[in-house]
Symmetry: D2
Subunit: 298 residues, 4 copies
Amino acid sequence: MKIGFVGLGNMGAPMARNLLNAGHVLHVFDVSASAVQALVEAGAQAAVSPKAASAEAECVITMLPAAAHVKSVLTGDDGILAGIARGVAIVDSSTIDPASVKAFAALAQQQGNAFLDAPVSGGTGGAAAGTLTFMVGGSVEAYERVKPVLSAMGGNIVHCGDTGTGQVAKICNNLVLGITMAGVAEGMALGEALGIDPKVLAGIMNTSTGRCWSSDTYNPFPGVIDAAPSSRGYTGGFGTDLMLKDLGLATDAAKLVRQPVFLGALAQQLYQAMSTNGAGKLDFSSVIRLYRRDDAAT
Amino acid sequence: MKIGFVGLGNMGAPMARNLLNAGHVLHVFDVSASAVQALVEAGAQAAVSPKAASAEAECVITMLPAAAHVKSVLTGDDGILAGIARGVAIVDSSTIDPASVKAFAALAQQQGNAFLDAPVSGGTGGAAAGTLTFMVGGSVEAYERVKPVLSAMGGNIVHCGDTGTGQVAKICNNLVLGITMAGVAEGMALGEALGIDPKVLAGIMNTSTGRCWSSDTYNPFPGVIDAAPSSRGYTGGFGTDLMLKDLGLATDAAKLVRQPVFLGALAQQLYQAMSTNGAGKLDFSSVIRLYRRDDAAT
Amino acid sequence: MKIGFVGLGNMGAPMARNLLNAGHVLHVFDVSASAVQALVEAGAQAAVSPKAASAEAECVITMLPAAAHVKSVLTGDDGILAGIARGVAIVDSSTIDPASVKAFAALAQQQGNAFLDAPVSGGTGGAAAGTLTFMVGGSVEAYERVKPVLSAMGGNIVHCGDTGTGQVAKICNNLVLGITMAGVAEGMALGEALGIDPKVLAGIMNTSTGRCWSSDTYNPFPGVIDAAPSSRGYTGGFGTDLMLKDLGLATDAAKLVRQPVFLGALAQQLYQAMSTNGAGKLDFSSVIRLYRRDDAAT
Amino acid sequence: MKIGFVGLGNMGAPMARNLLNAGHVLHVFDVSASAVQALVEAGAQAAVSPKAASAEAECVITMLPAAAHVKSVLTGDDGILAGIARGVAIVDSSTIDPASVKAFAALAQQQGNAFLDAPVSGGTGGAAAGTLTFMVGGSVEAYERVKPVLSAMGGNIVHCGDTGTGQVAKICNNLVLGITMAGVAEGMALGEALGIDPKVLAGIMNTSTGRCWSSDTYNPFPGVIDAAPSSRGYTGGFGTDLMLKDLGLATDAAKLVRQPVFLGALAQQLYQAMSTNGAGKLDFSSVIRLYRRDDAAT
């Protein structure tokens, strides 16, 4: 299939490679010429604009940092909507707010294009391995149409409901993640201060009611889980600033629908305090440093 | 084995029955005569006091509401320490603060008795089925000695470390539990307000990074999990007031060791608000009612 | 002086009247024809657009609900910048975010107009009485130029610094106000629950270190201060939804400059919970209802 | 009048001196011999125990760190109740929980002694100057009886109601104080980050609705108020650990009467974080350091 692909960053580039590997023909665009060049060497065709990337596409995919970039790439003079053929679906895998998704979908609809939100989870590792989870919002018909394309990049393609619900699923999941991680950090640090062996404590949590991904897979206490960022100085993983962005989307969405989020708003401030103190690029599980008295040795 | 058992409430009574079923000889005491009578009918011997229950015991077990009760039962004129033989171990399965445990253990030690803290998880269901988890604090030697007795009441007997660490494990686990449940409530209610199907949202969380016991086993949103209290009007389960007690133990213990617990302290206030508004006896997952606009239909 | 005035709502209308009373010539515009008509009856000239209102003005004043309105009124085809003469100052008394102010000021600057942010405090009472406080951001020169005009509407005209600092002053003041009011509510409700007479408690606070405007002038406990909204069922005053808007501006601004606001973020959620439960139009001091067990009698 | 005085610490010693200055005869006791000696040199009589200090007293005053000390001094074998004559009033100026006050009052009542709670505000400065505020709980009759004695130590003697309400007044005031101080810290630090001059911002708050003691008298931002601890490196003043103690009393009392204290619980954690990081002895207004990016220069 001929696919237009816009946004070749840490996530977009490996996703585009997996499309190439699956035999698709790609026209790619990115503001970085070197990012485009790397994909061209892998077999893609360079496009001079989002418009050009979309001109002959049977499906267009975008993977961008924020809603403002999606808007520009979509509606600019050289944008996707200026080049795309009627009836072609646009899949946006960026993580952005549901309200923007609905506005973009309305614009696309006006000229006969379906716009699906399809944010992912699984990180750069999942993007490279082609095992991402796609949370897709849009009509069933459009979802069925793009599913084969997404399957080349992900292992789990979930239809969440109407336009915007893909973003809602991602935002709500990450709201819970941000809270549970800080909660586990609190519990582990309290246990340490009260004198229990952190591995014993984690072992009990993980077979009891405190069990969660933040405890059994990604425990923030150094040394409890060898493969977790906490055991390598909080390098790699999912950065504090990215968690902060997602909690910002969650609390903004909550504000819009007038929904209280007590713990989410407080968790956001905790990650903010970490970021302000210079830990923005560290994995978000480093939030445990707000609680531990002396982490010099870790 | 001859066992003294003090405290025949919702948890203690079924635990004592399992000891009888395992062939132990029980001398039981409770302030409620009818509670004692029910156990006598099951084959136990009635004792007139904790002292009397302990007089010939090879092991003494207590299961009481709070530290003040343990203190009174242990150190009163008619208490366990007044009747127990030298060298006999005392196992306290109450959930109390670690500092009290240490004080009680020191008293017991003075007259040659080991005192182990062994709080449980698993609720009244686990108590009846004999599948409780025991989190045990005390010396390895004492732990090995009482393990066979505890095995008649539980499926998972874990040695957590020195005296008090059993309580630490329970308190820290329940701190995380209290936070994750309110966090999941927040995420599910936000998702509802943003228009996603709650079952779809829970399905995504449960296969993603938001996964936790509060979401995949005990989801607070009505109808998502048939067997959860949320699907039967929040009846049964683990009461809000009990969660409130455990979060009180956690924040008190944190205060004692000068450890901040930002989310735990806020979660405690959320359950407090629920209890103040009359939901103290409902399952603690009813905390989601703080977030949902219209739960009349549930 | 010839003044263009755009925005004749609850605040703008009485402000415009005071300008008329001071002898100024007003060209007024509002989307509501009846609002314009009322001012015309008071002596103003009706304008068909912001552009028309600005055409001959020596100073233009705007008083609008949010940044989006200011943008539209300023930059629309029929907007102020399309009609205003070079060198004429524009004073925006709306409460909006500092970042928008800077963007608007840059646009105005491009065509030789000063743009000053001048949000007010004092409410509709102060607007009617002409006793508002104006917090003004902009150059000293521009401030000195518009000060005489503002003095017809306010009793206290404060120069806060460069462009945007007027909004910063208002936002930070109202952040503190939102926190102190909820804090006083918490203290008063706790005192009630602990059995002290609320008037006695308020008396002590007001002569001690808990003293604040929220306690000594606007106490949220009914009956403590006769003139406060709490003593008339929380009607009138400063609505919960307006406080919510201002806390939203504060937490958004904090997010932009990466500044944690722990208590502010939590206070925002408390007012959100009130608003969600139907108290959005009540005075914001009604937040005490989150704390009091039985306010049926009040 | 003959007065027994127990507890000659930073507060008790200057209070006792003011009683001597007013012509009273004092029998004093403290666990520190040097503290007793210093008072003896000022004209007091040394007593070997609280019992001895109370033996001939017409009024007994205690000023101790916590409820446990009051209990011991009151009910020990060598305690006040063992030595005091029937009908003599006991005034406890310690800051302790209202529930303990009621228990102590009941014990005193049993042997015909009134027990009044009379915690103070005003700090060591007010103690030395004799200008303390006394918040007194107890019967009107007992209050009238001890008022002349307290007047020698304080400038403002307030009857708060029945036994315990003196503590309630102090606890609720300090709950509000702890919240407003952290709130002002948040607002001032946000203003700094947004580029307004801190003195200008404080000036606006202090004449507007954000006005409070924490802003206009004790502003936490260095340099805004010359006489405040913030302007001398947060030395002197009211220590973070003392604020932490008082917020602990407030949240404990709230727990006992099942009253939510959302902001108070969070504020407690903020001061806890400060104390954990080594600022326990600094003035509590140093909580602003949690918010400011770079306070090296202050």
